[in-house]
Symmetry: C2
Subunit: 112 residues, 2 copies
DNA sequence: TGACAATATAACTACATAAGAATATAGTTG
DNA sequence: CAACTATATTCTTATGTAGTTATATTGTCA
């Protein structure tokens, strides 16, 4: 692992970064992103996949779209959402690897 | 950019990922991590750098430590905290790049 | 136009938590 | 032990927001 390069961010920049993390800090929103991994889907489809209510899903979809993570496309009566920023998957992968490493370390404690 | 590999995570795993994002979704916590980028620091030093109150900083330090992101070392009367999980910097870099790209796109709209 | 379907919005409730203030705990030094 | 310093904890207030329910909006088709 090479050292990350120096992190020179203003407090204002950190506020924006924190906002992005906040968007991703909701399990249902992560499930929505996961549901769209293979391509666009309608609101009804997403609602079924993530097993929530339609208004709740609509609200989260708006949040994700406002954050620039989703794109919206309307076709007649139905609205399709799609991933607009693939970096979310990279972020989740990094977190996942970190969590796995941590759990492995903790688990090793009990193996004596 | 190559496509991320398929994302097969259970809802429970996504809950854990969301929790990690939630830890990072606080500007002051990001500033604390930034303050520790170059090595360990005492609580007093951190409090001065991030310009907050000591109790508030202590609480956030505990949150970060509980999440496995910081390590704690006590020496006499003073306590030093240090980064325990370098992945946080990688995460911030990814978010930062994504935000920059988005702002560049938006800004281009006004350049005609 | 009227009935229907898909999506969005509004009002509300419940819960989580950040920040501040006061205090407690622990370690040091005289 | 007493005085002091560094850090942690407790309690409170204020704010944000996820989820629910009800309703509004928008589009289609008869």
């Amino acid at each position: 692992m090479s050292k990350q390069k120096k992190w020179e961010m203003s407090p204002e920049a950190l506020n924006l970064v924190a906002e992005r993390f906040k968007i991703l800090a909701e399990p249902l929103r992560l499930r929505i992103l996961q549901a769209l991994e293979d391509g666009e889907r309608s609101v009804t489809e997403i609602t079924a996949v993530v097993e929530s209510t339609q208004p709740n899903v609509s609200k989260h979809l708006k949040t994700l779209q406002d954050a620039g993570l989703l794109a919206r496309r309307q076709e007649g009566n139905t609205v399709f959402y799609a991933i607009a920023d693939e970096s979310v998957f990279a972020l989740c992968d990094v977190v996942c690897a970190s969590l796995k490493a941590r759990l492995a370390t903790q688990s090793a404690i009990f193996k004596g």
